[in-house]
């Protein structure tokens, strides 16, 4: 379940977790970072991740963000059902008109699947996706 916490606290502003994975939004000196950890491989992760994406998206719109770092360095795997939550996120960005921002993915060279998955996402929306 997601749990908003107080602005300015060291804890994540928005976070969600299941047994095998977690996602959290952090406001840092370098900007906003959304950190995914673990293995997204449950039957229907969209039930957990899409509401998290909704909250993160609203936060970024209110903050007037131009980009957000999406940190995959500790994400071991993401199944196709979980991958759809990132497509869902991009679709929300595309619908945001002049408030659109970019997802700057930070990948792990050790997780080779990330290269192909992020390549596909960048083809899906070159304007919204950047691979770091």
């Amino acid at each position: 379940m997601s749990s908003p916490s107080l602005p300015g606290a060291r804890t994540p502003i928005i976070q969600v977790s299941e047994e095998k994975y977690s996602a959290s939004l952090h406001v840092e000196p370098l900007g906003t970072r959304v950190h995914f950890r673990g293995t997204i491989s449950t039957v229907n992760p969209a039930g957990v991740l899409n509401p998290f994406v909704d909250q993160v998206h609203e936060h970024l719109l209110k903050a007037g963000a131009k980009d957000v770092r999406v940190d995959f360095t500790e994400l071991e795997f993401c199944n196709s059902s979980g991958f759809k939550s990132f497509i869902y996120w991009i679709q929300k960005i595309q619908a945001a008109g002049d408030k659109q921002y970019r997802l700057r993915f930070i990948s792990s060279p050790a997780r080779k699947w990330q290269r192909t998955s992020l390549l596909a996402l960048s083809c899906y929306s070159p304007n919204a996706v950047e691979i770091g």
Binding site: R111, T116, L119
Partner: protein
């Protein structure tokens, strides 16, 4: 006379499982390690592991508690990888699966097929993306057969696959 290197022979892995969903991660990790050991110097293990994960994920819900069989063949001489996943399925499930696969295979470019699946897949429920993902990301062709009450999804391709290329020249 010394034994030929194991990497010059076809290598097989066969698993028969009645796995609940939670074991899919363990199977993916095992397949990735197996491929890395079977074909040192090649770089296909992550793609094969991804494909096995997605195909197993499709098979388990339809298996109804019955066996799911996985066969993996790696043939360095023939430059070929083959994954077969079979499970019980009804006629209706087979036809539905075949219809989805035919639609994916109708598009000659795996990336375009994948991008279409991304646009059309329902965002709030599972399904609709895995097969197109396997075809593009794992660089494997897909087909399906039926024998008795079991279906088998076959994924095959080159062991030494070319770099993935997309418009604009980006490749991985």
């Amino acid at each position: 006379m010394t034994e030929p290197s194991t990497t010059t022979r076809p290598i097989y892995l066969m698993l028969r499982m009645k796995p609940p969903w939670v074991f899919v991660d363990e199977i993916r990790r095992f397949v990735e390690s197996f491929c890395a050991c079977a074909c040192p110097g090649e770089t296909r293990e992550a793609q094969v592991a991804l494909a096995v994960h997605e195909l197993m994920q499709n098979a388990i819900p339809h298996a109804g508690g019955e066996n799911v069989d996985l066969t993996l063949q790696v043939d360095p001489i023939a430059d070929r990888i083959e994954i077969a996943v079979s499970n019980p399925a009804t006629e209706e499930q087979f036809l539905d699966f075949k219809r989805r696969l035919d639609r994916i295979n109708t598009e000659p470019d795996p990336l375009q097929s994948y991008l279409r699946a991304m646009s059309e897949a329902p965002m709030n429920q599972r399904g609709g993306l895995g097969l197109a993902r396997v075809r593009f990301e794992a660089q494997l062709e897909l087909s399906i057969t039926r024998e008795g009450n079991r279906i088998t999804v076959l994924a095959w391709g080159r062991l030494r696959a070319p770099l993935l290329q997309v418009p604009g020249g980006i490749h991985v």
